[in-house]
């Protein structure tokens, strides 16, 4: 890109494309000076501080709750309990994106340790804590279910006795619940998997287990809320989904959308944990009751019980026929969604259908379940359930390759889908890139072709190295909608208004790049208007690697609208028909007559009779859609707007005497369609991989009888600099997507998808043991090396 001096004014022309340039981030200066404000950095005059009392039980009846003494605490302006909420008129006391299963404050029973039971707003945090300590609660503990496989047994205690579907998703409307803890079941049937497995010469059958884990965004959730004298609610919140929060608050308070304003300041990491309603219902209710601004910032312990990654058990069966063909896959995946469904049913559906992997296999049978337990509610976690199933289907590719004496990379390349193939769901595939990513990663890691030949028996001494590769394919959450407004001022400066949340991924920069490119103005004249639902249009959410594609297209549609207006004005001014005009490089030109043109400045001057400070506004709404899915077979002509594929390759070192695993080298590859900002793409690929490395090797939320025992960063350890592989490379593949802006797709999650199985495959290559559960503890590796069958006996 040419750097254009600012004094050249509105005539700034761009001759080179800014798309594809790794320009400096637009949010850079605020972020390196400490000037970027997050919710906890905001305050209002007279603001109260909120705090909540949380359940100490995983499942109990609330037999008595009395806040009389708490209300007497000086400075405590409001103390609310579940029964209090029920008595407030005009309030909908339950919420949730799939089912309205989550009470603002617990009513009658509590369903997980940490559930909010009472809330206080007080002048100071000390007064709030004092008041909470005086709320008297009596619980009658009930049998609780903690394990996802226990929860599906008929005799398991029910977490919810009925379900009330939210109106958000049509396919959930018929679900009533009450019979079991399974709140959603997705089925995919293609061919006859049972028959094929019966005929197979070899059937691999394994459970792959992933635990709940903490998103561990460093910024705890926070909300500040205020109602004005007209009854309008303004909420500053750490959310990835301002439009959904606005809609939900409008539902809870039964007020029109325009009476709820949701503003998102800078967001200090989210990874899926800050979607849908989190602290907003309680905070806004306290603000309403007290008629004062209220701010609630979680502490780290509270973050741990607010959301988590779905623990999952993925039961994978793969059949290999006599001729060495993979003839069937049967998959049952159980997502542990904890006490509230949140978006779990969507994960079971949208990820469940990819559970057999991106491979041409004739007979596929998938059951994907979303299951309640009495644990921390689970939500999407960077990858939206794909890492849990990719761990299983990729591990089985390695097992099959080993059985057949084949090169695991080559086997994957043989079976992996190609452009134009039909996915197991009957959906035609376009713009994949998983195979190219795999080939690239294998090359970079120094993959030696041929079957793996791990030492046998496993070595007892020393350190051994091994390499592993894996791929994965994810379908973007569909349908969804993104809206954008692009405003140009008479000086040629541009504002881009979107509800896409800048949470580190670089969306502010990328969206401004697109506006700069389209409007033909230099990047330094483009600015972002960050989410404020009073001015920024609806966007489904910032998650699932969807923003570049969806919001990128919305910005393009908005700039198209703006360009159209320029042409309309120029047509009037130049007395040339609109068809003869085109908008190029920041000006309107008559086609084929390069000398006849109007600059932006001239267009504004004509339209507004020379008035300065005037603006023109374009808007765009981009929507994606799906074709109906058959309920029994899971078949659909169109299940997703786009696919994004990627691969990971790892070289590990296993200490055969301690069982520790160190990732020495790592390569991550992702097909991004088109890299609008290549450095951001690289950062997404490796950032996702580093997080997943922690999830693979040590991160887990440890529950004992429903109690979380590592609810602090002193006990829940994150990947640190010492864990980052010494050799770390990212590789961008570009298979343009016909609908993406400049062909771009998403990349935020790709690095998570194939990383677990790449590491476990490398461990197999190094020492010849198969891993079926993460995190991979040193003891589990050592026991496997010593031939312990894992049943807990001492070898």
């Amino acid at each position: 890109m040419k750097k254009v001096p600012a004094d050249q004014g509105v005539l700034t022309l761009m001759t080179t494309s800014i798309v594809g340039e790794s320009i400096p981030r637009i949010d850079g200066m605020p972020k390196i000076t400490g000037n970027a404000r997050y919710v906890a950095d905001l305050s209002l005059p007279g603001m109260l501080h909120a705090a909540v009392l949380r359940s100490p039980h995983p499942h109990a009846l609330l037999t008595r709750i009395d806040a009389t003494e708490a209300r007497k605490v000086p400075g405590a302006k409001a103390v609310l309990t579940g029964p209090d909420v029920l008595e407030i008129e005009g309030i909908s006391p339950f919420y949730g994106p799939a089912f309205r299963d989550q009470p603002i404050l617990a009513v009658e029973r509590v369903r997980h340790v940490g559930e909010c039971v009472a809330a206080v707003a007080a002048d100071t945090r000390e007064a709030a804590d004092k008041a909470l300590s005086l709320v008297e609660v009596e619980y009658e503990p009930q049998p609780a279910v903690h394990d996802v496989l226990d929860a599906i047994r008929p005799e398991a205690p029910l977490v919810h006795e009925k379900l009330e579907p939210a109106k958000t998703f049509a396919d959930l409307a018929h679900l009533k619940g009450g019979q079991s803890n399974i709140n959603y079941h997705f089925k995919l049937r293609r061919g006859d998997a049972e028959q094929a497995l019966a005929e197979a010469a070899m059937v691999f059958s394994d459970d792959y287990v992933s635990p709940p884990a903490s998103h561990a965004h460093l910024e705890p959730h926070g909300v500040m809320a205020e109602w004005d004298a007209n009854g309008k609610l303004t909420v500053w919140t750490s959310t990835q989904s301002p439009s959904l929060v606005r809609n939900d608050l409008s539902n809870i308070y039964n007020v029109p959308l325009n009476q709820v304003r949701v503003i998102v300041p800078y967001l200090g990491g989210a990874y899926g944990a800050k979607l849908y309603d989190k602290l907003e219902p309680i905070t806004t209710l306290l603000a309403r009751v007290t008629k004062k601004p209220v701010r609630w910032i979680l502490n780290r312990e509270e973050v741990f019980v607010t959301s988590s990654k779905h623990g999952a058990v993925c039961r994978m069966q793969t059949g290999v026929s006599k001729d060495g063909t993979i003839n069937a896959r049967k998959v049952a995946v159980y997502y542990d969604t904890g006490a509230f469904a949140e978006i779990g049913p969507r994960i079971a559906y949208k990820t469940g259908f990819t559970g057999a992997g991106p491979y041409q296999i004739d007979n596929v049978w998938i059951d994907s379940y979303c299951v309640y337990t009495h644990k921390t509610p689970a939500g999407p976690f960077r990858g939206f359930g794909v890492p849990q199933v990719a761990f299983a289907y990729e591990s089985h590719m390695d097992k099959v390759a080993h059985y057949l004496g084949r090169d695991p990379v080559e086997l994957r390349l043989e079976y992996a889908y190609d452009e134009g193939d039909f996915f197991a769901s009957g959906t035609r595939l376009h713009s994949l890139g998983h195979k190219e990513s795999l080939e690239k990663c294998a090359e970079v890691i120094g993959w030696e072709p041929g079957p793996r030949k791990p030492p046998s028996p496993p070595p007892a001494r020393g350190k051994r190295r091994g390499k592993g590769c894996a791929l994965a394919l994810k379908a973007v959450l569909t349908p969804s909608t993104s809206g954008s407004i692009v405003e140009m001022g008479s000086d040629g400066s541009v504002n881009v208004l979107t509800s896409t949340v800048e949470m580190g991924q670089g969306s502010d920069t990328i969206l401004c790049q697109i506006a700069s490119e389209e409007m033909g103005v230099s990047f330094d004249k483009v600015s972002i208007v960050r989410p404020d639902t009073d001015v920024t249009p609806y966007d489904t959410l910032t998650a699932g690697s969807r923003s570049t594609f969806h919001m990128g297209r919305a910005v393009q549609l908005a700039t198209d609208d703006l360009k159209r207006q320029f042409i309309e004005i120029a047509s009037d001014a130049m007395e040339v028909s609109e068809e003869q005009l085109e908008y190029r490089e920041g000006e309107v030109r008559v086609r084929g007559m390069p000398d006849r043109r109007m600059t932006q400045e001239e267009v504004f001057a004509h339209k507004f009779k020379g008035a300065k400070g005037t603006t023109l506004v374009g808007q765009g709404v981009f929507q994606t859609s799906v074709a109906p899915t058959d309920k029994e077979t899971g078949q659909s002509e169109n299940m997703t707007a786009y696919w994004f594929g990627g691969a990971s390759a790892a070289e590990v070192e296993v200490d055969c005497e301690t069982g520790t695993v160190k990732v020495l080298n790592f390569a991550g590859g992702a097909d991004v369609g088109k890299a609008i900002h290549p450095a951001h793409c690289d950062q997404q690929i490796l950032g996702a991989a580093i997080t997943t490395l922690g999830l693979t090797l040590f991160e887990t939320m440890r529950f004992e009888e429903g109690q979380l025992t590592n609810q602090s960063f002193l006990e829940y350890i994150l990947p640190a600099f010492g864990d980052v592989p010494r050799g770390l490379t990212s590789h961008i593949l570009e298979t343009p997507h016909r609908d993406g802006p400049y062909g771009a797709k998403g990349v935020g999650e790709t690095g998570t998808m194939a990383t677990i199985p790449a590491i476990t495959a490398a461990i197999f290559d190094a020492v010849g043991i198969w891993i079926h559960e993460i995190p991979i503890t040193p003891e589990s590796v050592l026991r496997a090396l010593r031939g312990d069958n894992g049943n807990g006996g001492t070898p």
């Binding site: 301690t658 040590f698 864990d723 040193p778 050592l782």
Partner: protein, 269 residues
């Protein structure tokens, strides 16, 4: 003052441990007594006759970077350098760390192996005891109410005595140790002249492995001999079973790290 206020007061130095306990609600003293206001307790001094004295208020970072410590007791520098992170080391003090009695801290391993003594001051005056006797149980120490730690002392280093501290942290670099192993070894013409092994983070209190005079001293340290020492260390350890490992696993780790420690020292001998 401390003894007058009893349990209502907590002495605080670097604050990294006390403040965490207070924040968690486990501990709510009415008064914090700022030990930093006491003068003269932060000195690190070495005397060829008396040995090393670490003032209780010296920070971990000061011990880590002190030239006398690095020159005479390199194992101590390298151990203090591995405690938690640099921020903790800038705040946490030698005395506060030991007084906390946490079984997962690193310094007691090399300190005990260096025959360190801990000095306590209370209303009854001053007393001093071997550091291994200071740790009496899970988060329990011999420190009486009203007493504070004033210093840790140890004799001058013996010629030829080499030491190593192995911090074994499993798969996460920032984790607490599963096991800390300090080994001190002096070889005399191919036979073992002195061998000390101390284990931390594995049991409720540091484990000073006994019987090494009979098992190793005066003998060649053959592979079998080293195995025997490692087995003895494992047998003397009553591991805490937790998510870092079962008792079986932790004893295996004791064997591995005692062997690795001795082998590493033999290589440099």
């Amino acid at each position: 003052m401390l003894s007058d206020l009893g349990e209502e007061a907590a002495p605080i130095a670097g604050g990294t441990a006390v403040l965490i306990l207070m924040k968690s609600g486990l501990y709510a003293p009415n008064h914090l007594i700022n030990l930093k206001a006491l003068g003269g307790l932060s000195e690190i001094a070495f005397d060829p006759k008396e040995g090393l004295r670490l003032g209780a208020l010296a920070t971990h970072r000061e011990v880590e970077l002190h030239p006398a410590v690095a020159g005479r007791y390199p194992v101590l520098s390298s151990t203090y350098a591995r405690v938690a992170n640099v921020r903790v080391r800038n705040s946490a003090t030698v005395g506060g760390n030991l007084a906390h009695g946490d079984f997962r801290i690193d310094p007691p391993a090399p300190l005990i192996a260096l025959n360190a003594r801990i000095r306590l001051h209370g209303t009854g005056g001053e007393r001093d005891l071997p550091l291994e006797d200071f740790f009496t149980g899970f988060y329990a120490t011999a420190k009486a109410e009203g007493e504070i730690v004033t210093a840790v002392t140890m004799p001058p280093p013996t010629d030829g005595l080499k030491g190593i501290y192995l911090k074994y942290v499993g798969n996460a670099a920032a984790d607490w140790p599963t096991l800390g192993t300090a080994v001190m070894l002096r070889m005399d013409n191919g036979t073992c002249g002195d061998l000390r092994v101390v284990l931390t983070s594995v049991a409720e209190t540091p484990v000073k492995v006994s019987g090494l005079e009979d098992l190793a001293v005066g003998r060649e340290l053959s592979e079998e001999r080293i195995e025997a020492v490692a087995d003895a260390a494992a047998a003397q350890t009553q591991p805490i079973e937790d998510h870092r490992g079962s008792a079986w696993y932790k004893r295996e780790m004791v064997k591995v790290h005692v062997r690795r420690g001795i082998e590493a020292l033999l290589e440099t001998a």
